[in-house]
C-alpha cells in the first residue's frame, strides 16, 4: 500500500477512535445538568468519565497532529477555512477541560452549577460542530485553485450540514446515555435508560435525515464501501435502540459505538482519495496526492504510528479495566 493511503486510513482510524471515545463523554457531559438531580448524582456522572475524558480528547489532538504531519495542506486549508467555527469549538473545549477540574473544588452551589453548565456547553458545541465539519468535508466547500478557502463562516452552514451537526450531537447523546447505564447505580440507571429510549427515536429520525441528505447532497453513495458502511450504521443503530428496550445495556452500547464506527468509515471511504472536496471545481479538491507530506516524512511517521498506536490502546484499555466497576456513592473521593 502506498504511504499516502496508509495515512489516509490512519487519520480515519484516529477520527474513529475520537468519535467513539469522546462521543460518549460528550454525551455524558451534555446529560450532566439534566440527569444529575443533586450534587452527589452529578459527581457520580462526572466520575463515570473522570479518569478517561482527557485521554479520549487526545485522540482529537492526535488526529489534528496527524493531519498536520501527513497532509499539511488539508490542515492549513481546513483550519484556516473553518476559522470561526474552530474558534468557537476551542472556546468550548477550554471551558470544558477546566470545568471538570474546577467544579468540585468549591462548595458553593452557584460555583458548581455554573461549571456544570460549562461542561454541558463544552460538550454540546464540539459535538454539533464536528458533525457540521464532517458533512462539510464531503459536501464540498469553496476551495480555489490555490488551495485556499474562499468562503465565509456562513458558507459552512447549509440544511445538510446543520442536520449533520444535529445528528452527530444526538448520536453522541444516545451513546453517552448508554455509557451511563453501564457506569452508574440504582435509580440513575433507569433514568439514563429513559433518556436513551426517548432520545433514541429523535436520534434515529435525525440520523435518517442525514443519510437521506447525504444521498442528495453528496456523491458518497458512489462508493460501495461507503454505502454499505452507512447503511450498516443505520442497522446497528436500530439494533442498539431495540437492545436498550430489552435492557441489554452492554450490547446496546457496543452497537451505538459500532454505529459511530460505521458512520465515520462511511464518510472517510466516501471521501477517498479526497480529504476536502472543492465545491468550485473538482480539480481543486485536496487529495492524498496533492496535499500530502514527502515520502520521507510519511515513512518515519508510519513506523512511529504503527508502533505507538497499539501501545496506546493497551494502556488506555488498562485504564478502563481499572475503573471497570460502577461508580458508587461511597467512593466519591474526588
Amino acid at each position: 500500500m502506498e504511504l499516502t493511503m496508509i495515512w489516509f486510513v490512519l487519520v480515519g482510524v484516529l477520527f474513529t477512535g475520537f468519535f467513539f471515545l469522546e462521543g460518549f463523554d460528550y454525551g455524558v457531559g451534555m446529560l450532566l445538568p439534566f440527569l444529575g438531580k443533586n450534587d452527589v448524582e452529578r459527581r457520580i456522572i462526572i466520575n463515570s468519565i473522570g479518569p478517561v475524558w482527557d485521554g479520549n480528547e487526545v485522540w482529537m489532538i492526535t488526529a489534528g497532529g496527524a493531519l498536520f504531519a501527513a497532509f499539511p495542506h488539508v490542515y492549513a486549508t481546513m483550519f484556516s477555512g473553518f476559522y470561526l467555527a474552530l474558534f468557537i469549538m476551542l472556546m468550548a473545549l477550554i471551558v470544558r477541560a477546566v470545568a471538570f477540574e474546577f467544579r468540585s473544588k468549591d462548595e458553593s452551589s452557584l460555583w458548581r452549577s455554573t461549571w456544570d453548565w460549562m461542561i454541558f456547553i463544552g460538550s454540546a458545541v464540539p459535538a454539533l460542530l464536528w458533525g457540521v465539519a464532517v458533512t462539510n468535508l464531503i459536501q464540498g466547500v469553496p476551495i480555489n485553485a490555490k488551495m485556499q478557502y474562499a468562503g465565509t463562516f456562513f458558507d459552512l452552514l447549509s440544511p445538510y450540514t446543520l442536520v449533520g451537526g444535529v445528528a452527530f450531537l444526538l448520536v453522541f447523546l444516545f451513546h453517552g446515555a448508554l455509557f451511563l447505564t453501564l457506569k452508574v447505580q440504582g435509580d440513575l440507571i433507569e433514568r439514563a435508560r429513559g433518556v436513551a429510549t426517548k432520545i433514541g427515536l429523535v436520534t434515529a429520525i435525525a440520523f435518517l435525515a442525514m443519510v437521506g441528505l447525504t444521498y442528495t447532497s453528496t456523491d458518497l453513495f458512489n462508493s460501495t464501501l461507503a454505502t454499505v458502511a452507512l447503511l450498516s450504521a443505520v442497522v446497528v443503530f436500530v439494533l442498539s435502540y431495540i437492545l436498550t428496550w430489552a435492557r441489554k445495556f452492554g450490547w446496546a452500547f457496543a452497537m451505538s459505538g459500532l454505529a459511530i464506527v460505521f458512520t465515520t468509515t462511511a464518510f472517510f471511504s466516501g471521501l477517498f482519495p479526497r480529504l476536502m472536496v472543492s465545491s468550485l471545481n473538482p480539480a481543486w479538491n485536496l487529495t492524498i496526492y496533492n496535499a500530502s507530506s514527502s515520502a520521507y516524512t510519511l515513512n518515519i511517521m508510519t513506523y512511529a504510528a504503527l508502533l505507538l498506536v497499539p501501545i496506546v490502546l493497551v494502556y488506555q484499555g488498562y485504564t478502563y479495566w481499572v475503573f471497570r466497576k460502577r461508580v458508587s456513592e461511597k467512593h466519591l473521593e474526588y
Binding site: 499539511p72 483550519f79 476559522y83 477546566v98 452549577s113 478557502y149
Partner: protein
C-alpha cells in the same frame, strides 16, 4: 497587514499565557513523584498528605495548561496556514509525535493517578506520577525540537515550494535543541522549586501545619537551588551558541550596534532604534567577548554590520529584531535568575543552621518571590521568539509570508478578544482556587455528601 500584527498578538498572548502553566507542570510533576516515592519507601503518612496537598494545586495548574494547550496546536493552521503549508512536512511530525508519545501517556496516567488512590497498589500509583513526569517533559522535547527548527533549521531541503525533511535524526540532534531543552526543563524545576518553597514559607510564617511544610520547604529549596544554578549554566551555554550561530539575536539582546573586538557587556543601555545607536550606555569592557569566547578577546558582530550582510544575502528589508525588547527581556530574565539563586542559597544556609523558621524576613522574601520564575520564563520566551523577527523560520520564511491569506482582520479580532477575555476569567478562577486551597491548608477534601439537594434542570419529566 493588520492581520499579521493581530495574529502575532494572538500568538503572543495565548503562548505566554499557556507557558505560565506548563513549567509548573514540568517541574512539579517530578517533585510530586519524588514526594510520593518518599511515602511509598517510608510508609510515613506525612508524605502522603504532602503529595495530596501539592497534588491538588498541581491539578488546577495542569487543567489550565491542557485547556490552553489545545489552542496552540490549532492556531498554526488557523492563523498561520501558509507557514503550515511551507513547514508542515517538518513541523507536523514532532507535533504528531508529541501527541502519540507524550499526551496519551500523560493524560491516561494522570487520570489513573487522580482517581486511582484506592484502586491501585501504592507502587503502581506512584509509578503513574513518574510516568506523568516523564511524559510531560518528553512533550517539551518534541515541541522544542519543532521550535528549534524555526530558530536554527537543520536536516531539510527546499523543494516543491516548501521545506521538506530529509534528515529526521538531524532534527532531534539539533544543537539549538540541546541548548534549549535542558534550559526549559530546568526552568520548569526552578518554577516548581520556588512554588513549593514560597507556599511552604507562607505556612512557616503563619506557624501552621509545621510538620508538612518543614519537609516541603526542604524539597522546594533544594530543587530551587540546584536547578537555578543549572539553569544559569545551560543559559550561558545557550548564549555562547547564539553568539556563534545566531549573531543577530545576540547583537539585539546586547543592543550592540557596531561590531566590536573585544566587545563590552552593556549593563544598561538606552537604545535609539530609529537612528540605530545607543543614546547612552553603561558597560563592562571586554565582558561580552569573555562571556561568549571564555577569553577577553574576540569579535562580536554588531547589528548594523549584520543588517548589511542580511540585505546582501536576502534582499532589501529590515532584518533587525526589536532591539530594546530583546535587550530588556534578557536582562530581566537574568536578574530574576540571580535573585532566585541568591535567595535559595541564603535560605539553605539558614536552614542548615536551623534558623530559617525564625527568620521572618527571608520567609517573607521567599513568599514574595513567587512571581520570579514566571517573569523569567515569560521574558525568556519573549527574547527567544522576538529575537528571530522578522523571520518565522530563520532564513527560510518571513512572518509576512506565513499568515493565513483567507482571514480578515475582523476574524482575528474576534478570536483575539475571545481568547483574551476567556483567559482572563479563567486566571481569576484559578487564582481564587489556589488561594483558597492555600488558606485552607492540607485538610482532607471531603465531598459534601449531604447533597446540596438542588434540583437539576429538567428537559423531560
Amino acid at each position: 497587514m493588520e492581520e499579521i500584527l493581530l495574529g502575532r498578538w494572538q500568538f503572543g498572548i495565548t503562548t505566554v499565557y499557556h507557558f505560565l502553566f506548563v513549567p509548573l507542570t514540568l517541574g512539579l510533576s517530578v517533585l510530586l513523584a519524588i514526594m510520593e516515592t518518599m511515602y511509598v519507601q517510608t510508609g510515613n503518612e506525612l508524605y502522603k498528605k504532602m503529595t495530596k496537598f501539592w497534588g491538588k494545586l498541581f491539578l488546577v495548574n495542569f487543567a489550565m495548561g491542557v485547556a490552553t494547550g489545545i489552542v496552540q496546536e490549532f492556531q498554526f493552521g488557523m492563523n498561520w496556514a501558509e507557514y503550515s503549508r511551507f513547514m508542515g512536512d517538518i513541523f507536523g511530525a514532532p507535533l504528531a509525535l508529541e501527541a502519540l508519545t507524550a499526551f496519551f501517556l500523560e493524560s491516561t496516567f494522570l487520570g489513573l493517578w487522580i482517581f486511582g488512590w484506592d484502586k491501585l497498589s501504592k507502587k503502581m500509583h506512584m509509578t503513574c506520577m513518574w510516568i506523568v513526569a516523564f511524559s510531560s517533559n518528553l512533550s517539551a522535547f518534541w515541541i522544542l525540537s519543532a521550535n528549534s527548527f524555526m530558530q536554527s533549521p537543520v536536516g531539510y531541503s527546499l523543494q516543491n515550494g516548501r521545506a521538506e525533511m530529509v534528515d529526521f535524526p538531524a532534527l532531534i540532534t539539533n544543537p539549538y535543541l540541546w541548548g534549549q531543552f535542558p534550559h526549559t526543563v530546568l526552568g520548569g524545576l526552578v518554577t516548581a522549586g520556588v512554588f513549593v518553597a514560597a507556599i511552604s514559607a507562607y505556612y512557616l510564617l503563619k506557624q501552621r501545619h509545621l510538620e508538612i511544610f518543614r519537609s516541603s520547604v526542604k524539597i522546594g529549596l533544594a530543587c530551587m537551588f540546584i536547578s537555578t544554578f543549572l539553569v544559569m549554566g545551560t543559559g550561558h551555554l545557550q548564549a555562547q551558541y547564539l553568539g556563534k550561530h545566531q549573531p543577530m539575536k545576540m547583537a539585539s539582546m546586547e543592543s550592540l550596534w557596531e561590531t566590536a573586538s573585544p566587545a563590552p557587556f552593556a549593563i544598561i543601555a538606552v537604545t535609539d532604534e530609529v537612528n540605530k545607536r545607543n543614546t547612552s550606555e553603561v558597560g563592562i569592557p571586554g565582558a561580552l567577548s569573555l562571556l561568549i569566547y571564555d577569553k577577553m578577546e574576540g569579535e562580536v558582530k554588531g547589528l548594523n554590520e549584520l543588517q548589511a550582510a542580511a540585505e546582501a544575502k536576502y534582499g532589501p528589508g529590515n532584518y533587525m529584531p526589536p532591539v530594546s525588547q530583546s535587550f530588556w527581556s534578557f536582562r530581566i530574565m537574568v536578574l530574576a535568575g540571580l535573585w532566585m539563586a541568591i535567595l535559595s542559597a541564603w535560605s539553605l544556609l539558614l536552614l542548615y543552621k536551623n534558623k530559617l523558621e525564625t527568620n521572618t524576613t527571608v520567609l517573607t522574601l521567599l513568599l514574595w518571590s513567587l512571581p520570579m520564575p514566571y517573569i523569567a520564563n515569560s521574558t525568556g520566551w519573549i527574547l527567544t521568539e522576538g529575537g528571530r523577527q522578522p523571520w518565522i523560520v530563520v532564513g527560510l520564511q518571513k512572518l509576512n509570508a506565513a499568515i493565513s491569506t483567507n482571514l480578515t482582520s475582523l476574524d482575528i479580532w474576534i478570536s483575539l478578544i475571545g481568547f483574551t477575555v476567556l483567559y482572563g476569567v479563567l486566571a481569576i478562577a484559578s487564582i481564587y482556587l489556589v488561594r483558597k486551597f492555600v488558606l485552607a491548608g492540607p485538610v482532607e477534601h471531603q465531598p459534601s455528601l449531604s447533597g446540596v439537594a438542588k434540583k437539576g434542570a429538567t428537559l423531560w419529566n
